[in-house]
């Protein structure tokens, strides 16, 4: 797009607008297609018209119908992702503050280890943990999903939080300490309240990561009542053998995705700050 820079401003603006339109279409059209497919009648699954005709909520009612029982899966997902998020924030805040604010030997090593663990292939952790959980009878339990989830959620949260801590003016805390507060008090009374928005953003990012988790939940649980939403959706089967559950899957996909999309739209500036600052600067 820089090639356009030398041309007349008018044509350049046009090209940029077209570029913007392409990006928006690229990002939203597949999502739009899922929405539309969800609102078709189950029998219209093969229909490729851009709007459903007629509109129908049948797919949604069958998602929450007794044979699928999606409420239970949603509840499991909220519980697993929520607990993972809270645990990571509680544990990770201290480490993030340390990385961002304290001076100590081996800091690069510590930062490297934390970022390194987030790059592990999840399956390498699942093999031994699955065996262990069979031995201690943790298969089909929430902790069997939450504990392994910490492996990716904790580094993510520490890294994102450290970025937010680093952005806060150091002088505030120093002033508080000159005023006679201990470091702990300064942290609680000055830093934490200021860091609240950053912690909230980190919570959203971690929650989304935990909510989207698949391979752990898929491996550690085989009982229907314990499955998380992502696992449940991927295993939907038609009610009868000929029934293709495309519409049901799309409806469930919309249900799982829309809350995330809304949260992301509301907090987009912060989330982008959290996502990019961690990886870039």
């Amino acid at each position: 797009m820089t090639t356009v820079q030398m041309k007349a401003p008018g044509s350049r603006r046009w090209l940029l607008n077209i570029g913007i339109a392409i990006i928006v279409i690229y990002c939203l059209v597949p999502f739009y297609w899922m929405l539309v497919s969800a609102f078709r009648r189950p029998n219209d699954a093969g229909d490729n018209s851009p709007l459903p005709s007629p509109w129908s909520l049948d797919n949604f009612s069958s998602v929450f119908g007794p044979s699928i029982g999606f409420w239970r899966s949603l509840g499991n997902s909220v519980l697993v992702a929520g607990t993972t998020t809270i645990l990571t924030l509680v544990i990770g805040t201290f480490a993030a503050y340390t990385l961002a604010r304290l001076d100590f030997r081996g800091k690069n090593l510590v930062a490297g280890i934390i970022i390194g663990t987030s790059m592990f292939p999840g399956v390498a952790l699942i093999v031994p943990l699955f065996k262990l959980f069979i031995d201690i009878q943790w298969i089909n339990t929430y902790q069997a999903m939450i504990l392994p989830s910490l492996s990716f959620a904790l580094p993510l949260a520490v890294w994102t939080l450290a970025t937010f801590f680093r952005q806060m003016p150091k002088e505030l805390e120093e002033a508080a300490m000159v005023d006679g507060l201990t470091r702990g008090q300064a942290f609680r009374q000055v830093i934490l309240p200021l860091a609240a928005p950053g912690m909230f953003t980190t919570a959203i990012i971690t929650f989304i990561a935990a909510w989207n988790e698949y391979i752990i939940a898929l491996t550690m649980v085989n009982e229907k009542d314990m499955k998380t939403a992502t696992v449940a959706i991927s295993q939907f089967t038609g009610i009868s053998g000929y029934d293709s559950p495309v519409g049901t899957k799309m409806a469930a996909g919309v249900i799982v995705t829309v809350p995330l999309v809304i949260a992301v739209l509301i907090f987009q500036r912060r989330i982008i700050a959290g996502l990019t600052a961690g990886g870039v600067k």
């Binding site: 800091k107 930062a111 790059m119 699955f130 000159v178 990886g279 870039v280």
Partner: protein, 333 residues
């Protein structure tokens, strides 16, 4: 200034604190204390499983009857047999297939993500209107769970789906064959390219405008500006984005598993292979596959950091430099 635990005896109260701050080792003990919970958890959920996987990969479950008709249960030490088995006979075919699938997916998706991501970032960077809209929409693919995006693309790619209608084709995208690879690549790039775009955009935004100003005065055209200024300056951000995306692609599991299915040779990745062995409780081979994948990931990460100089630590490292400078200043003062 090399004292780690005992601070030099200075006046008590506030002045002591302010001198202590210039000492890089002052916080060693506090740091250790605050880092302990995180490292404890990481030791349990990452280090222990990794060591256990290494051990597991040297054992095999032997079950059956011995010569007296008793049931033999438990694990037997088999040395590197699980590893050598990977490269023998039919398992070798399956392993190399998964290995090449993983590599192929990683290389192709990365290439497309960089191309599309950088273009997106450039458009967004220069855009005058619609910034809010584009920022909102670019987060949508990121927020959609991979599993949901897999099902979404499965619907788009179904036999009588919209992809075939638009292309006037009759390809059975989600069945075995090269087209399944293409379907997976498209679905993956759709979800991740905007994310790369976001990271590159952040890198673009820290380039000061007067650099371009100067280049323009010197008569550099837009193309030259892109290759000589934009790309070199955005390279650190791009490298980190590529590293993270690349390692993520190497462990690809959800997308081919949900979109195409289990045990489909055209899309089976190393993660899928290892997971399948785990659930069928063939722990020895599963652990061996996992270790091989881990080594593969580690080599790629090492190559990126050492050879290409991807600065993963970024800000954390610059702060360490500051500390060093402060330490020097304090020492010379």
């Amino acid at each position: 200034m090399t004292v780690t635990t005992a601070p030099p005896p200075t006046a008590s109260g506030a002045p002591k604190r302010s001198t202590a701050k210039s000492d890089p080792q002052k916080h060693g003990r506090l740091a250790l204390m605050l880092l302990t919970p995180t490292f404890l958890v990481l030791a349990i959920v990452v280090v222990y499983p990794l060591i256990a996987a290494l051990r597991e990969s040297l054992y095999q479950k032997k079950s059956g009857l011995d010569e007296n008709g008793f049931v033999i249960k438990g694990d037997t030490f088999v040395g590197v047999e699980n590893y050598t088995n990977i490269f023998k006979g039919e398992t070798a075919t399956r392993f190399w297939n998964a290995f090449w699938n993983t590599t192929f997916f990683t290389v192709t998706t990365l290439a497309l993500e960089i191309l599309i991501g950088v273009s997106m970032a450039l458009v967004m960077h220069h855009a005058l209107r619609g910034k809010g809209l584009v920022r909102a929409s670019i987060l949508v693919p990121w927020a959609i769970p991979t599993v949901v995006s897999a099902l979404m693309w499965q619907t788009i790619f179904q036999a009588d789906g919209v992809a075939n209608e638009v292309l006037h084709s009759q390809i059975l995208w989600t069945t075995e064959g090269f087209h399944a690879k293409i379907a997976v690549i498209i679905a993956d790039v759709w979800k991740t390219a905007p994310f790369v775009g976001l990271l590159v955009l952040a890198g673009l935004q820290v380039i000061p405008g007067d650099v371009y100003e100067a280049a323009r005065v010197d008569g550099a055209n837009a193309w030259k500006q892109f290759w000589r200024i934009t790309l070199p300056l955005v390279k650190p951000a791009l490298l980190v984005a590529i590293l993270f995306r690349g390692l993520d692609a190497l462990r690809m599991f959800d997308l081919p598993y949900v979109m195409i299915g289990q045990r489909k040779s055209s899309v089976e990745t190393l993660s899928m292979l290892a997971q399948e062995q785990t659930t069928s409780q063939r722990f020895g081979p599963a652990a061996a596959y996992a270790v091989v994948l881990f080594i593969y990931v580690a080599i790629v990460a090492y190559a990126f950091v050492k050879l290409l100089g991807a600065d993963v630590l970024g800000e954390a490292r610059t702060r360490a430099k500051e500390t060093k400078q402060r330490k020097l200043k304090a020492a010379t003062a």
